[in-house]
């Protein structure tokens, strides 16, 4: 999609004055897959599409060496995932979520009420604007800190917190109306 560029900042090795960077090891990608799958499901609302999205994300990352700062692997991978999804989103609309697909982002065995809450929240999240959805996915679905989310989304911590507030408010309203 025009205007959607690959994240560039983490591609180049150390620059003068920048935080030291290390190479993102291809072998380490597998350990981040569960959290990326959660994020991908939140964006796609379909297990098959989420698997495709994560696979495509890994393929993009593996095309050439990537360099990340300290332990920012997930934040960086989430950014690539978001860009990859933005390309795909122009091609298709999210399908209605199948209830069974939620099983691998939430523990549905524990409590029916909790499972229903998760289902409602994921459904409501799909209706958010892209900036709000990206923020709530980064913090609540993937589990990044505000700082990590800000880095991943290339914005300020205050903006992350404001967007997170508004995203949750809209999701809460939709859950109450359901």
């Amino acid at each position: 999609m025009a205007g959607v560029r690959e994240p560039a900042a983490a591609v180049a090795p150390d620059g003068a004055g920048a935080e030291p960077r290390r190479r993102l090891e291809p072998a380490s990608l597998a350990q981040h897959r569960p959290r990326l799958m959660r994020a991908a499901y939140a964006m796609c609302r379909s297990r098959e599409d989420a698997e495709d999205l994560v696979q495509e994300t890994f393929e993009r990352v593996l095309r050439r060496p990537r360099f990340v700062q300290r332990d920012h692997d997930v934040a960086y991978l989430l950014r690539v995932l978001r860009h990859t999804h933005a390309r795909a989103a122009a091609r298709r609309r999210p399908a209605p979520a199948a209830p069974e697909d939620l099983e691998w982002v939430a523990d549905l065995h524990a409590d029916p009420a909790r499972a229903l809450e998760a289902r409602l929240a994921y459904a409501a999240m799909a209706e958010l604007s892209e900036p709000l959805r990206a923020t709530i996915v980064a913090v609540d679905v993937v589990g990044l800190s505000y700082k990590e989310a800000a880095r991943s989304l290339r914005t300020r911590i205050g903006t992350v917190m404001s967007r997170l507030y508004r995203a949750r408010e809209q999701v809460a309203a939709a859950m109450e109306a359901a």
Binding site: R35, R38, A42, A98, P99, E100, D101, L102, E103, W104, V105, A106, D107, L108, H109, P112, A113, R114, A115, L116, E117, A118, R119, L120, A121, Y122, M125, I136, D140, V141, V142, G143, Y146, G158, M161, S162, L164, Y165, R166, R168, E169, V171, A172, M175, A178
Partner: protein, 251 residues
């Protein structure tokens, strides 16, 4: 759209997530007292965070926040003691409600919510007109040969003081859940329309949530059964509920 300032939005998020500590937290709580409905707003934030973080092991539990209006200085100590006691009592009540074995039986309406949840176990095997799945000897029907509704999976839950088992069926894009509740029958829901089919009394109502589910509640061998889901015509649910399966399903 939120009517709050960005600063207040950030403050409420920080309080909801428990990311503020020490003096910053105290200042934030002080400020939040001037925001109308702050406690409710924070609770809404925490509800969404809890729902989305389910299954994320390392996610911290949302913090408990109190931003009620500050008491007058003279009354502060007395109220603090009363507040602490109330908090302890509230916590005890909440925990007791979660674990108490003597909890109340669920209402049929609550049982019907299970139709909106995913299966957590594979589909049970079939034997003729019934499935190899039962609750207290009451077996689930196999609707596939006669009606084309094939099973997709099942789940088991505990609602109130009752165990439940739910089998999910699909047919041409429609989904139905059949739940059998263990123990004595729960009774029929108030205000439901009652129809009789082949000697079976079936209470019918429509749950408007989530696009509208039709729900049928009836008894088999003294056990409450709930069939709920999306169908084109409610008659489908009536027919399926009343089906005897050659005597294998309903005696």
């Amino acid at each position: 759209m939120s009517a709050l300032s960005r600063r207040d939005e950030q403050l409420l998020v920080g309080l909801a997530d428990g990311t503020l500590t020490g003096r910053r937290r105290r200042r934030a709580e002080e400020r939040a007292r001037s925001i109308p409905g702050a406690e409710r707003l924070i609770a809404r934030q925490q509800r969404v965070a809890r729902a989305l973080r389910a299954g994320l092991d390392e996610a911290p539990a949302p913090a408990t926040v109190s931003v009620r209006p500050a008491p007058e200085p003279r009354a502060r100590l007395r109220r603090a003691a009363a507040g602490a006691l109330a908090a302890v009592l509230a916590a005890c009540v909440a925990v007791a409600a979660l674990v108490a074995p003597g909890a109340d039986p669920p209402s049929p309406e609550r049982v019907a919510v299970l139709s909106m949840l995913p299966a957590t176990e594979p589909r049970p095997p079939q034997t003729g007109t019934a499935l190899e799945a039962e609750v207290d000897g009451v077996r689930f029907p196999n609707w596939e040969p006669d009606f084309g509704w094939r099973t997709t999976g099942m789940r088991r839950d505990r609602l109130g003081d009752r165990d439940t088992a739910t089998v999910y069926y699909e047919h041409r894009g429609h989904r139905l859940a059949y739940t059998i509740v263990a123990g004595p029958a729960l009774g029929l829901p108030d205000g439901a329309r009652i129809v009789e089919r082949d000697g079976l009394r079936i209470a019918l109502y429509r749950d408007p949530r989530h696009g509208g589910h039709d729900v049928a509640v009836f008894e088999r061998d003294g056990h409450t059964c709930v069939v709920a889901g999306h169908v084109l015509e409610v008659e489908t649910i009536v027919e399926l509920s009343a089906w005897r399966g050659g005597g294998q399903v309903r005696s």
